[in-house]
Symmetry: C2
Subunit: 163 residues, 2 copies
């Protein structure tokens, strides 16, 4: 079934390496397009940035809070970066830092009640926006892409062998 087995196929135009490059560019383009839409709506409708929303979404899944390092790993974002985002969210009283008794190096970050309330409203709108943006993608198709992307992420992750 592989393309390589059909020398006469007209589709042989692109060698695998070019094809993978095209895939990567397409991937980048798609996520940037969606990201731009969501960012704009978050700003105009809720006066919040996308990274701040991402942080709140992560915190919402950890009722008891998590440390800064765990947070940065979840978001695939640098450690020093999270500090600034949390600073701004804390200034708005949407999150708070708690000092755990056991380890005085770290902080536990969590949503305030106000933060949780605020987040719930934004998350609802956010889900609707995504649904609207991707309306042409059926459930089966979405599932299919998800599976393939999962494989892709695993592939990228495992490629940890550095030359």
């Amino acid at each position: 079934m592989s393309v390589a087995n059909k020398p006469r196929e007209r589709t042989v135009a692109h060698p695998p390496s070019k094809q993978r490059l095209r895939l990567w560019l397409r991937l980048l383009r798609s996520s940037r397009a969606i990201e731009a839409r969501l960012r704009e709506r978050l700003r105009t409708k809720f006066a919040i940035t996308l990274p701040q929303f991402d942080v709140m979404a992560t915190l919402a899944r950890y009722e008891n809070g998590i440390t800064m390092t765990e947070l940065s790993r979840h978001l695939m974002v640098s450690n020093g970066n999270v500090t600034g985002i949390i600073d701004r969210l804390a200034a708005e009283k949407l999150v708070l830092r708690q000092a755990p008794a056991t380890d005085r190096r770290s902080y536990i970050v969590r949503l305030t009640p106000k933060g949780l309330l605020h987040f719930s409203a934004i998350a609802k709108a956010h889900e609707e926006w995504v649904d609207e943006l991707l309306v042409d993608i059926g459930a089966a198709e979405a599932e299919s892409i998800i599976q393939q992307l999962d494989g892709l992420v695993r592939s990228v992750r495992s490629g940890d062998a550095r030359p």
Copy 2:
């Protein structure tokens, strides 16, 4: 072969809207993972940033150069943003601004010979890295994902109706 043809399948758990949300999160995660790898290698091997590489890649496709506005549209990046990137590339003598005789508002930006030479080497390595990162994705599978992402981008683009 499609999942939809098996009504008894346990996978029917997720409603379409949740499925689309998962798809979006997966998309974001994949591109961030790949982006991080490429960014790191560009920095360590070639002392260049990803956006700077993106700009050079675009300029490489326009031998006669393009204007700042065209460049920003290509990269899906704000107008004021390109200025800074070009400033830094120009400081390295990798690109240059030409003032066209006809329109004194605009600049034509193009790669210098040094820039083209430098870019060719980076692009070669870049393609190899992508190929390596996505090695588990076959040509047919890549094509399949590309098709689906194209549909997705079209869907997002057409969703220009703003409430």
